[in-house]
């Protein structure tokens, strides 16, 4: 059984853990405010808030997620909020709703609830309310009617109102201002009680804790049934295999505390990530931002706010898309993955050795990524990530690439280049990197390096671009890394003058 709160109501359900939260909301609970637009996380019409009790048990942290890709099992122990859960009983509009109406942010209305939920989530978040964070909150919501300008105006109105939001006891203020109904102030207590209940041994025995009842396993002893499908944030699997996931037992890993977290840099210079660390957790990490000063820029190019709240790093690796953004990012960082399995030894292998062929992994079925280790750039080392897609944001790359470099006195000591979208797997351009090593940073070196790179890649023509385009784009991104690293030594016009 799964236990959680849906709006103001306690839910207990035996629906499959791998089914979509969206279907539960609309067709089991008949809450029709949440709409179906695309079922692949690309439109945001089904956005809901997912509230999780913080470690101290005192507050609930709400994040927007697309319910079409949220496994129902990931609602376990949490507070799921749909528009029906924020509507004022009086019929009065919340400030978010009022701003959208007032600024003409709703035309046909089909996407509107998604925007309402995203902006309500923004109000509940502890991020400062700035014009940028306001817009980022709705960057996963597609509207075909308005052209967004009215929604931007509505967001600006809210940003103004949220300036008054106090730093502490914000929830009380939000409830007073009717951003959310009063019951929200009780949710931390209710979730704490629910979790205590779920952890009682008696509940475990009957399976109510959800650890052993056969439909899903999400506890630390999950290895007992390793052949189950591992399910993280759901952002790939619920697009690809929704129907199948309803039918098979799944092992939920999204909420396993031991699979989350970002360790500090260790003595060997490595950072370790839990496999279920989300893209948003990377983005929000102060340490990661110090290690990668341009991280917000990079991650703004990676999907959208709700998908970053859901998608995990290991999920991106294991999906094995030749174009996975996080995969490409980490490939250039000498990243290793640690795989564990119930019947074999835990082992560690370099990320680039994980990929054998298109969607083929050097991983046994029962093996599961448990941790990820990478060496962040040290002072004096260079790192950069590039991505170009048809639409700059919330799109899959045509080509993406990352580069890591050590250079001294204008001579490249060591290099690692990754490239996505130019082969059947996410590539490390080993020969290109080897070619660069020992050479001076110059136009000639880079043009020659590009010739090597062009021999290492095998792009195909598809909806993301023709093979010719991808070859050209890879060259551009390769050069973009170096223009970023050595703006003084390299001039773009000269670099690109000769083919």
């Amino acid at each position: 059984m799964l236990h959680f709160y849906l709006n103001d109501h306690r839910i207990s359900t035996a629906e499959p853990a791998g089914s979509a939260l969206l279907d539960f909301i609309r067709y089991q609970q008949h809450l029709k405010g949440t709409k179906i637009g695309c079922r692949e996380g690309d439109c945001g019409a089904c956005t809901v808030l997912v509230g999780e009790l913080s470690a101290d048990g005192q507050t609930v942290r709400y994040q927007s997620m697309t319910s079409c890709l949220t496994p129902l099992g990931n609602a376990h122990g949490k507070h799921i909020v749909t528009v029906e859960g924020i509507n004022a009983a009086s019929g009065q509009l919340t400030p978010v709703q009022q701003a959208i109406v007032q600024e003409g942010g709703s035309q046909c209305g089909f996407c509107t609830v998604g925007f309402v939920m995203s902006l309500t989530g923004h109000s509940l978040s502890n991020k400062p309310a700035t014009p940028e964070t306001g817009l980022a909150a709705i960057d996963g919501n597609i509207c075909r009617c308005t052209g967004y300008k009215s929604l931007e105006r509505a967001t600006a109105v809210l940003t103004g109102q949220l300036q008054e939001r106090p730093a502490t006891e914000a929830l009380n203020w939000l409830a007073e201002q009717q951003f959310v109904p009063a019951y929200f102030t009780e949710m931390a207590g209710r979730l704490a009680a629910l979790q205590a209940e779920l952890h009682e041994p008696a509940m475990h025995a009957t399976g109510i804790g959800g650890l052993t009842n056969g439909s899903f396993v999400n506890g630390p002893n999950g290895f007992a049934s390793a052949a189950r499908q591992v399910l993280g944030g759901g952002t790939d699997l619920l697009v690809q295999r929704l129907e199948q996931l309803r039918e098979i037992p799944v092992r939920l890993v999204f909420d396993l505390a031991e699979l989350r977290g970002i360790s500090p840099v260790d003595a060997e210079g490595y950072v370790t990530l839990g496999a279920a660390t989300t893209a948003e957790q990377l983005r929000a990490s102060q340490m990661m931002n110090e290690l990668f000063p341009r991280l917000p820029e990079y991650l703004k190019l990676v999907s959208s706010t709700p998908i970053r709240n859901m998608g995990t790093v290991a999920g991106n690796f294991i999906n094995a898309s030749p174009i996975g953004d996080l995969t490409i990012f980490f490939l250039a960082l000498d990243t290793e993955v640690t795989l564990a399995a119930p019947t074999s030894d835990t082992r560690t292998l370099p990320l680039h050795e994980l990929y054998l062929g298109y969607k083929q992994l050097a991983k046994e079925l029962e093996e599961q990524v448990v941790s990820i280790r990478f060496r962040p750039p040290r002072p004096g080392e260079f790192f950069h990530f590039e991505k170009v897609s048809k639409r700059t944001h919330l799109d899959i790359a045509s080509v993406n690439s990352a580069a890591w470099l050590q250079a001294k006195d204008g001579i490249i000591q060591s290099a690692r280049i990754s490239a996505g979208g130019v082969g059947p797997v996410p590539l490390r351009l080993h020969r290109t990197a080897a070619f660069l090593e020992g050479r001076e940073v110059s136009i000639e070196t880079l043009q020659a390096a590009n010739h090597v790179a062009q021999q290492e890649i095998h792009p195909i023509s598809d909806a993301r671009g023709s093979a010719e385009y991808k070859r050209l784009l890879l060259r551009q991104l390769l050069f973009a890394h170096f223009l970023q690293f050595f703006p003084e030594q390299l001039a773009m016009r000269e670099l690109l003058a000769v083919n």
């Binding site: 709409k35 109406v101 046909c108 639409r391 899959i396 001039a491």
Partner: protein
């Protein structure tokens, strides 16, 4: 005055098709579709699917009791394929099952035996094979053939614009219920309830009076639910009719994208001649419209391409010919602008070509040739109450075009990687269905005894705010608060024989009918007041729910007046009919006065292209638009902003990719991209031009749905301008959308000639040579 619906929208309380509470016994339908684009349908093996869990019945063409035909303009489209399949995604069979999941699962068990036939996806190839939907049409004014001699400069070229997926966020669907006299009631997500009613009756072999169609609202339409909502309404009805159980059919996103038609891709040849003063003397253009496998609305779309082939310019000698070409793609259909944008893209390309060859800014040519009062358009309707120059000059002045140009030049001089581009895009768009008989409407207005009012019309609310405008018309005409007015669902039993909500004309047509009905009711009530309260009828009026006699409050209010009228047995219901006056068109000579009026405007667009990566951002779009006397500036502004961004999407990132087998590769939201928040222009100014409006517009508030889409064309030419700033002298092929791929390949032309084929992954694209056909 806000849009009325959004209060419900933001609370998630507005009901769309999939939100209707499911009636017990409902069967769920799933469509089995052709997996090849052209072939002989030799057999269908349904045995395994019939035996699948939950499957109740599977319907094929053999089960159609009436005629298996839903073609609107040309009867060339069966509702379920028979004999031959003509496009991938063509419906062949309908599975009815107890649950949606069961219906979907059974689809995989059906086997179709289809003998492949040759596939055509390119309109020029179709034209060469004489595969035409209707005979070609030519609009002609002056004599372009002899006019070339008077031209100092003559340029020719090819322009191509791609299709566009509507991407209404609510997918297509219908929910049909059997009714007691052997009929059906259909809740349909359609812009054309009467079309669904008519075709359903035809397919079921029953009278239209046995088919009721009801529409509350659509989650977006944009033309995609004009004709293309019909198959799903008819199929659901067929299921309900045959099983006598409710049948619900909702397409999932990928099925919707695969199976439904889109904006027509066009490939066109142009030739333009100018005199020494840059006056356009002659223009010849040949359009090859990619119609897809059936007529649908293609002939009407083609006609509007011809109507708008000279956009906002006066050209004395024009010969414009258009071919509607049959290909093996889903039947292409209406989409905001309805062929107009495709025609305008070509004349703008021709002007750009001339400007680039002559080394002058395109705006020099554009401004000099704008329409003036009483200039004749190629179909001989004069430009009356023409605001083309006013729109241009206001935009140029207000947003300081000369300074924008300087800023762009300065920026480009100082920057290597980033280049800015600028364009000016004037528009002129005709309002009315070009099929004159369709310009009629009806309104049924009930005043209830408590003074509240219900209005029914043929208008379908799909976000454009038409219900709000109709409520405004009723409230203002009756002199009452808008809170008393409810605009009812659109229902064929209340208002019959309606035209679809399309052609930007819905508020005009249905608003005028509402105004007429309310005027009649007002007059009747005031006549009653004059006898009941012995007042002089002259000078009686109702304002703010108070009856005024010669300006002074009389002893009765709206509520009392209505009540007393009822007790005196005065009718409180009125039914009015409106037909747009003065319009006519003779297709045999391609001349007439087809439009009630024209809408004008001008957009200035500034973009920045990243010349390292080939990506771009829209810095600003500044628009001066002719709303007339806007009756709802909030709604109207929303239409301009939304239309412009939709047009920008068509011209920049929205790329439909079919392979040579006619399979759609950009078949989901992850591979077909429409503008997101960050893709919208950073600045989008909308200036309301000071114009008087037109008496044939409702309350002199001009139609506003389609015209702004064409401002988006400015994005294409601004990007082109930036590309040329990086690569002076280069002339990119006129090929929209200008995707980052095309930008990069134009910035860095591949060395090998072979790479010119880089874009031919789009199988509908054409070699960049001038075609011999004309």
């Amino acid at each position: 005055m806000n849009h009325l619906d959004p209060v419900r929208h933001v609370r998630g309380e507005s009901s769309y098709l999939d939100d209707i509470p499911v009636q017990q016994g409902t069967l769920y339908a799933a469509v089995f579709e052709a997996a090849v684009a052209h072939g002989r349908l030799r057999g269908l093996d349904l045995a395994a699917a019939r035996a699948a869990p939950g499957v109740v019945r599977i319907l094929t063409a053999h089960d159609v009791p009436g005629e298996n035909q839903i073609g609107g303009i040309v009867p060339d489209e069966p509702v379920l394929a028979e004999g031959t399949v003509h496009f991938r995604g063509q419906p062949i069979a309908l599975v009815l099952a107890h649950t949606e999941r069961q219906a979907q699962a059974a689809l995989h068990l059906i086997k179709a035996d289809i003998e492949p036939l040759p596939i055509i996806t390119d309109p020029r190839v179709a034209a060469a094979h004489n595969e035409l939907i209707v005979p070609p049409r030519t609009f002609r004014i002056g004599d372009s053939r002899t006019a070339w001699a008077d031209c100092t400069h003559v340029f020719e070229g090819v322009a191509e614009s791609g299709g566009q997926e509507h991407l209404y966020i609510e997918t297509q669907g219908a929910y049909a219920f059997p009714t007691e006299m052997g009929g059906v009631r259909i809740v349909s997500s359609t812009q054309g309830p009467t079309a669904v009613q008519r075709h359903t009756a035809h397919v079921l072999g029953i009278g239209m009076h046995q088919v009721e169609v009801d529409v509350t609202r659509l989650g977006g339409g944009f033309g995609g639910k004009e004709d293309q909502a019909t198959p799903w309404g008819v199929l659901a009805a067929l299921g309900a009719f045959l099983t006598r159980r409710p049948v619900k059919l909702v397409l999932d996103r990928m099925a919707d994208m695969r199976m439904t038609g889109k904006r027509h891709p066009y490939s066109s040849d142009f030739r333009i001649g100018l005199d020494a003063d840059l006056k356009i003397v002659a223009y010849e253009v040949t359009f090859y419209q990619n119609a897809g496998a059936a007529a649908d609305l293609s002939p009407a779309v083609l006609e509007r391409t011809l109507f708008h082939c000279t956009n906002s310019y006066f050209i004395p000698n024009v010969t414009a010919t258009a071919y509607s070409c049959r290909t093996n793609l889903p039947p292409n259909t209406a989409f905001r602008g309805f062929g107009g944008p495709q025609g305008m893209f070509v004349i703008e390309s021709a002007i750009a070509k001339a400007a680039e060859e002559l080394g002058v800014p395109a705006s020099e040519i554009q401004r000099r040739n704008l329409l003036r009062e009483n200039d004749l358009l190629p179909y001989r309707q004069p430009a009356e109450m023409c605001h083309a120059e006013q729109a241009w000059d206001t935009a140029a002045d207000l947003y300081n075009l000369p300074r924008l140009r300087e800023e762009v030049a300065e920026f480009n001089q100082q920057n290597e990687r980033l280049k800015k581009g600028l364009s000016v895009m004037p528009i002129c768009f005709g309002i009315s269905f070009t099929k004159t008989p369709m310009n009629q409407s009806r309104a049924l207005v009930h005043i209830y005894t408590d003074g509240t009012v219900g209005v029914s019309t043929g208008a379908v609310e799909m976000g454009q705010g038409v219900n709000t405008k109709i409520a405004q018309v009723a409230a203002q005409t009756l002199g009452i608060s808008i809170n008393r007015v409810k605009v009812e669902s659109t229902n064929t039993t209340r208002v019959a024989n309606t035209s679809p909500s399309a052609a930007s004309a819905t508020a005009d047509l249905n608003g005028k009918a509402t105004e007429m009905a309310c005027q009649a009711l007002r007059e009747r009530l005031l006549r009653h007041a004059s006898t009941e309260y012995t007042l002089n009828y002259e000078g009686l009026e109702i304002r703010n729910e108070q009856v005024l006699a010669a300006g002074a409050p009389a002893e009765t209010t709206w509520e009392k007046l209505v009540s007393s009228a009822y007790w005196r047995r005065v009718s409180l219901t009125e039914n009015a009919h409106y037909a747009t006056p003065d319009i006519h068109f003779d297709a045999t000579i391609e001349q007439g006065y087809p439009f009630a009026y024209h809408v004008y405007g001008t957009a200035l667009t500034v973009v920045t292209v990243d010349c390292l990566r080939g990506t771009y951002e829209l810095d600003a779009v500044h628009i001066a638009h002719d709303f007339g006397q806007s009756m709802n500036p909030a709604v109207d502004r929303g239409q301009i902003e939304g239309g412009a961004v939709q047009g920008i999407g068509w011209m920049t990132m929205e790329e439909l990719i079919y392979n040579e087998e006619g399979r759609l590769l950009s078949n989901s939201l992850n591979s077909y991209k429409i503008p997101d928040l960050y893709a919208a222009p950073k600045v989008l100014d909308v200036h309301f031009l000071d114009t008087p409006g037109h008496p044939r517009a409702i309350f002199r508030s001009k139609a506003v749905g389609e015209p702004p889409l064409m401002y988006g064309i400015g994005a294409y030419f601004a990007i082109r301008d930036a590309v040329r700033a990086f690569r002076p002298g280069h002339q990119p092929t006129f090929s929209a959308p200008f995707t980052p791929e095309k930008v990069l390949l134009n910035l860095y032309p591949p060395v090998s000639a072979r790479s010119a084929a880089a874009w031919s992954s789009v199988s509908t694209s054409i070699p960049a040579t001038t075609s011999a056909a004309s």
